[in-house]
Amino acid sequence: MKWILMIFLLGFGFPLSIKLEDPDFIKKCNLLDLNMKKIRVIRYIEINLLWWVLPFGYLSFIGVGLGYYRHIFSVNAKFNSFKRNLNLQFSIWLRMMEVLLAYNTVVVAIGKSIDKAPLLMKSHLESLYEALLEDPNNQDAYFGFMGYMDDLNIGRAMHHLYRYGTLGTEDASTQLSGLIQDNAEHLKTHRKQQFEDRLNFYSWYGLLPMLLVSATFLALMFLVLSNLMEGGWQV
């Protein structure tokens, strides 16, 4: 049975694993600019190796499952980290825009911000700037900015910038100022979160002394037992 399935995996494993791929997984890989072909080949080799190495039974099925899902988990983790990073960088960019908007129009401010913008946003800002140079009232350019991220903060900020840029009313200005205050709070929260993540290390690391003591105690107990039984059991 093991060998039949192995031949099946060798022959059909590659196209089958592609067929089973979630569209969300492919989308995330494309967003992160990952090499899909490389991931697929590594996954195919891993699955076949695991099937061959592991003893046939539940363990081999679990191993193959893990080999398949490992890449999905890894891409998800990378995507979450990317999104968190992008969120922070967007907030930092918005903080700079706040300064620039006090002295410039929205389009000029966006243009000036490109040089000092975070790396993740530069290319997107350049496209936005080019589109706005052609038509400063281009609603799609504003609303479509990093739309693939489907991020509420980005969407909301671009909506406000559009209103501020095209209508320029007192109301839009007040709303933008509200958004900037929210953004400042967001930056504070993010910093706090990062510091808390750093401190989390200590709560996990605190288990180490207890683990060391337990392991030492077990080893000493084993030593005592083997010492006591050196001459065999005395009945």
Binding site: M96, R198, T216, F217, L223, N227
Partner: protein, 256 residues
């Protein structure tokens, strides 16, 4: 061997930069020497309490010497980073205040540099373009915003500068307080962790005493090896925990 592999990078770092030689004055040297002797005595006492033989006790003391120097190096790095962070944030705050008074970047920088630390003055000595020097000082987004306000105010006018600078000052103060609170919390947790390691040694001592009542295990070679591994791992654990002190005070994600 594992211990040596783990600490080799830090030992090389100490040998290359000689931070102890640079930072220590006579008084601190005496304090550190006393601490070093106390630590050696403490480790020696623990070795005796656990009935370690001469060979393993020597290994342990050697590990202790290395751990001490690396830990002092970590502590010095932490103090240097703390000082630099405080000096940089204070410099930024003063710059904001002087700019509100003088409304010119160059003049404000000159006034702020009068009582600035040497490492900041050195950066400005290198060039004449103030904005570029400020960027060189730090690539934190608050510094970039500060330069942006200066540039815009000088070219367009001071109409919005006051509000912007006040908001930025508030942001810098929040940044300072959040970072200092985090560092205090980290030190508190590190001390708690050290206490846990000492507690661990205490529990292990009680356990080995209890087991030693049933049979004579101290003379056993395996006993010596187990206890030496335990104490060595404890030292290594302490070292890795202390390495967290060398994390930068300015978050990397906030730099552009």
């Amino acid at each position: 061997m594992i211990f040596l592999l783990v600490v080799s990078a830090d030992i090389l770092d100490i040998l290359r930069h000689k931070p102890l030689k640079q930072a220590i004055n006579k008084r601190t040297f005496h304090k550190l020497l006393l601490l070093f002797l106390m630590l050696l005595g403490f480790v020696g006492l623990i070795g005796r309490l656990f009935n370690l033989n001469f060979k393993y006790l020597t290994y342990l003391l050697f590990m202790c010497v290395l751990t001490f120097f690396i830990m002092v190096n970590f502590l010095l790095q932490h103090l240097t980073m703390q000082q630099k962070f405080m000096e940089l944030s204070q410099f930024m705050l003063k710059l904001c205040i002087y700019f509100r008074i003088y409304q010119k970047t160059h003049l404000s920088v000159i006034e702020t540099l009068k009582d600035a630390p040497k490492w900041i003055v050195d950066v400005f000595d290198q060039g004449l373009i103030v904005s570029a020097d400020l960027y060189q000082l730090s690539d934190h987004y608050l510094m970039k915003s500060l330069v942006e306000i200066f540039d815009a105010s000088e070219t367009i006018g001071m109409l919005h500068a006051d509000v912007q600078l006040k908001r930025l000052e508030y942001d810098i103060e929040v940044w300072m307080s959040q970072t200092r609170i985090h560092q205090k919390e980290a030190i508190k947790l590190l001390k708690r962790l050290m206490f846990l390691f000492v507690m661990g040694i205490g529990i292990a001592y009680v356990a080995q005493n209890m087991l030693a009542t049933s049979t004579q295990i101290h003379t056993h070679v395996r006993y010596q090896w187990i206890v030496f591994t335990f104490l060595g791992m404890t030292l290594m654990g302490l070292l890795i925990a202390c390495k967290r002190l060398t994390q930068p005070w300015i978050l990397k994600d906030e730099c552009l």
